[in-house]
């Protein structure tokens, strides 16, 4: 699975995430207070204007910190009742209808049916819920203002903060209830939709060893199962009649047999291996060049998509993953190493055979390196390698870290004295306090392996699929919270339709957030906005420096200021796409606690900020205008 945005471990994220949040909030507070005071001074004069600004700021402390839970709850209930009156149930009915007719367009004979089903239910749910919440949140307050029903509320001892929070909570609670219902129904839909079985007909089985005549009893058997859900499996049974239907469409079935008179009846179990939530242990990737010197990246093969970097075949070039936490407790039965490699061929070769590669395990402290497995690459699917605790490698040697005359780190092979081909213990010999390095090399000359950090991982265990499915819905829930908070915030000072457009605009703007942050941090070619504009006018190349002079100095100075503003603006835009974990669930990867924690806190950060902004807009607007 492609994971382009690297997930930072939670402990690292928590050290910087809140600081970024505080910086953005501080910048917004300064800008907000400045402009509010400016408007007040223009309207009422300096003395009254500043007094009014001070009074609003003073009263906001009480409004924000002394809210009454009872009043907030009353307004929350009102928002829920109001939404129910608007017949949100219709959305639920539409969802049920979609599921009802899903059988028409969901092809169970797909290569990856689980991805199809999960992609469908998560997409349908998110579109319906997000659209519904967009309408409700953006239209609710403006409708109340238009109908003047808000007049009878604000003339009670209700703080504006309570109104904003009540709306937000009401819609969030309603959306949560909807999501829980939809999630439960979707789960049943996926499980039941993919549930199937096959039959194993004795007449379709032949001895695995072609020398044995057909009908011979007590020998391993091979054959094909019957067709169900648009596919059939290869059957592999041992001498006892037990076995399995081999992996097809991401699943297999266990088979048992029973003798009934002179007939053997085979019982095929339900599909297994499909609804999984792998818990991967990711390593940190670094590269070795063809001389086994450390390099920033692998070879550039001209692929515009810079996600993967390539390892030159038939050389010492390697991708090295450094893992932490490789302990007998985590991996009691050895390592299960899974990888999805990209392959770049400079010549066609035997396309059926795949490209040869080797996996080496290295103890980062002692340098002991063993050749764990030679393999042929499998493109477009996950390659699984099980490495037992006791390894008997073809080759073992020591890779010693040294520095050459240029100060570059290189690794030098040093042969072992004595029993180089003996047995090695995975944990005793090859790990150092849980640290292990996995080296990947391409063996075929002139062919390349493309690798990215998430392409190779150790599968620690399986988490609960049901829980992972729920986490997929939690991702939608966080998106929903963002939509609601933006919708309510905008609706405190914009009309309903405009608030809706503004909310959608923020979400769409979030798509460009990454680029804007890069631009703000000066990581893009061509300088900041002014410098880029000059380059457009003068048709200068983005990589060449602008000629020195006043023009360039002024442009770069203005850019430096604009880039700080751009950084704040970019941080205001929600990273909406980051909250989508449908791929994790669909591809069978556990959504980690770090993912949940970081996104959860980010959502909370946005919600708090948007609540405060919404409060100030409502507080300073005339409700009866």
């Amino acid at each position: 699975m492609v994971v382009e945005t690297q997930l930072i471990p939670f402990h690292q994220w928590i050290a910087q995430g809140p600081l970024v949040w505080l910086a953005v909030v501080a910048a917004l507070v300064v800008v907000g207070v400045f402009f509010s005071a400016l408007v007040a001074v223009v309207r009422h004069g300096p003395a009254v204007g500043l007094e009014l600004t001070g009074r609003v700021l003073g009263s906001s402390v009480g409004d924000l910190f002394c809210m009454s839970p009872r009043r907030v709850w009353a307004l929350t209930r009102l928002a829920i009742k109001d939404s129910l009156r608007r017949r949100v149930v219709v959305v639920f009915v539409v969802f049920l209808l979609l599921l009802l007719f899903a059988g028409w367009f969901l092809d169970p004979s797909s290569d990856h049916p689980l991805r199809l089903y999960i992609g469908f239910v998560l997409t349908a749910t998110s579109y319906l819920v997000l659209l519904l919440m967009l309408f409700l949140s953006a239209l609710s307050l403006p409708t109340d203002l238009k109908n003047k029903t808000l007049h009878t509320v604000v003339t009670k001892p209700v703080r504006p903060s309570e109104i904003v929070l009540g709306r937000m909570l009401g819609f969030v609670l309603l959306g949560t209830m909807l999501l829980v219902l939809m999630g439960a129904i979707s789960y049943v839909f996926v499980i039941r939709g993919l549930a199937h079985t096959h039959e194993v007909v004795p007449g379709n089985l032949v001895p695995a060893n072609s020398d044995e005549p057909a009908g011979t009893e007590g020998v391993p058997l091979r054959g094909k199962s019957t067709r169900a859900n648009g596919h059939r499996h290869d059957v592999a049974l041992d001498r006892t009649g037990r076995g399995r239907l081999e992996m097809t469409q991401d699943h297999f079935h266990r088979v048992t047999s029973q003798q009934q008179g002179d007939r053997t009846v085979y019982h095929v179990g339900s599909p297994e291996g499909m609804q999984v939530a792998r818990v991967p242990l990711y390593g940190k990737l670094r590269f070795m060049d063809s001389q086994r010197h450390e390099a920033d990246r692998g070879t550039n093969v001209g692929d515009e998509w810079a996600y993967r970097s390539y390892l030159q075949g038939g050389s010492l070039a390697a991708g090295v993953w450094s893992f932490d936490g490789v302990t007998p407790q985590t991996f009691p039965s050895g390592l299960q190493l899974e990888m999805t490699l990209g392959v770049f061929r400079t010549y066609k070769g035997d396309i059926e055979q795949g490209v040869a590669g080797v996996l080496l395990l290295r103890n980062p402290k002692t340098g002991l390196t063993v050749e764990a497995k030679v393999f042929k690459s499998r493109e477009f699917s996950t390659d699984v390698h099980r490495l037992p605790r006791k390894l008997t490698p073809m080759t073992a040697y020591r890779l010693k870290e040294e520095k050459d005359s240029d100060g570059r780190v290189k690794y030098v092979r040093e042969e072992l004295a004595g029993n180089a081909k003996g047995q090695y213990d995975l944990f005793d010999d090859l790990t150092d306090d849980g640290h292990l390095e996995v080296w990947l090399q391409c063996l075929d000359p002139d062919q390349y392996f493309g690798v990215a950090q998430p392409d190779l991982y150790l599968r620690a265990r399986n988490a609960s699929f049901a829980l992972n499915f729920a986490k997929g819905y939690f991702g939608i829930w966080m998106q929903m919270v963002l939509v609601i908070c933006f919708g309510v915030m905008f609706s405190t000072f914009l009309s309903g339709p405009v608030a809706m457009i503004a909310t959608v605009g923020m979400l769409v703007g979030g798509i460009f957030r990454g680029f804007m942050i890069e631009l703000a941090l000066g990581k893009t070619w061509g300088g900041g906005p002014v410098e880029s504009f000059i380059r457009i006018l003068t048709q200068d190349n983005v990589v060449s420096d602008l000629p020195e002079g006043i023009r360039t100095t002024v442009a770069q100075t203005v850019d430096a200021v604009l880039q700080r503003g751009l950084w704040v603006v970019a941080r205001i835009l929600p990273p909406f796409g980051d909250f989508d974990c449908a791929d994790y669930v669909a591809y069978g990867f556990n959504v980690s606690g770090s993912w949940i924690g970081e996104r959860g806190l980010t959502t909370l950060g946005f919600a708090v900020a948007l609540f405060v902004v919404g409060y100030f807009f409502l507080k300073t607007r005339e409700v009866a205008r």
Partner: protein, 297 residues
């Protein structure tokens, strides 16, 4: 601000502006008012005179362009003052998807009221406004009169000290109007202070202790209703049992004109007459009228 003054406006001005800050209308011009504890105060004026604007400024629904409103000694934007206020808007702006019971319970929750007290107040008020038979029905099914009644009930849910009524009799049938007026008078008897604005002069005349007449945002008249309705340049005599000498003297004078003395005193006009006179005078002589404080006796 003296203790018995509940509402005080000082030089209160409201200018409505458009999005670009350009002045659209000057709705209220330097209004100075005081509303005292326990009285029924009427705001009178034609459409667009600034009555509702004044009430909205008192409630904090609008912000003054200049000047100040104090309510219970607090600024009008201070929501804490609302603990002691009840407000019946011009139209009953209520949530139509709630029933009468749910409406009162919802507004009760916005105050510091226990569940028991809310239930008790809800039952009392529904009975007071005569909606016991329709308390479970959604407000969307209510007639306009019924909506006004439940609107009044929500304004009284917190047993407020000050009640602001914007056109309280609008939409009511004659019986309803009579009941509403009686309810207003009863509230005064219970020590409540009431500010009401209305087009209906008879309503104001029947229930108000003091009135302010506004025209195009300016205060044109202020004082006690009975005092304002006196025709000061005419003397009315009503006398019985005068001494012969006195009767003779007066009688001779009147008899010379061919009449009979019945009483001595000040005749009154109707509020309608007074109102129309003031409007006519204001149209003839635009600008701020000097309000005769001495008439506010």
């Amino acid at each position: 601000m003296p203790d018995d003054v509940i509402i005080e406006t000082r030089n209160l001005t409201k200018v409505y502006r458009d999005f670009w800050g350009r002045q659209k209308v000057r709705a209220l011009k330097a209004l100075d008012l005081e509303v005292r504890r326990g009285e029924i105060f009427g705001l009178l004026g034609p459409n667009g005179s600034g009555k509702t604007t004044t009430i909205k400024l008192i409630l904090g629904l609008l912000f003054p362009t200049s000047g100040q409103v104090l309510c219970f000694g607090r600024d009008a934007t201070d929501v804490a003052k609302n603990e002691r206020i009840g407000y019946l808007p011009e139209e009953s702006y209520l949530y139509k998807f709630l029933s009468a019971e749910e409406t009162l319970d919802f507004y009760g929750r916005l105050f510091r009221m226990s569940r028991r007290l809310r239930r008790q107040r809800t039952a009392e008020l529904i009975s007071l406004v005569g909606l016991a038979g329709a308390k479970k029905r959604q407000l969307r099914e209510y007639s306009k009169g019924m909506t006004r009644r439940i609107g009044l009930a929500q304004a009284l849910i917190n047993d407020p000290e000050l009640i602001l009524l914007d056109e309280p009799t609008t939409g009511l049938d004659p019986l309803g109007i009579r009941d509403m007026k009686q309810m207003i008078l009863d509230l005064r008897e219970r020590g409540k202070t009431i500010v009401m604005c209305s087009h209906r002069l008879d309503d104001v005349e029947d229930v108000c202790d003091r009135i302010a007449i506004l025209y195009e945002g300016e205060l044109k008249e202020l004082g006690r209703v009975d005092s304002l309705l006196k025709v000061r340049d005419v003397t009315e005599f009503q006398a019985r049992g005068l001494s012969d000498t006195a009767r003779q003297a007066v009688g001779q004078c009147i008899e010379r004109e061919g009449g009979e003395v019945v009483s001595v005193g000040n005749p009154t006009t109707t509020l309608e007459r007074l109102f129309l006179d003031i409007i006519a005078e204001s149209e003839a002589h635009p600008g701020r009228r000097v309000v005769r404080r001495e008439r506010d006796a």
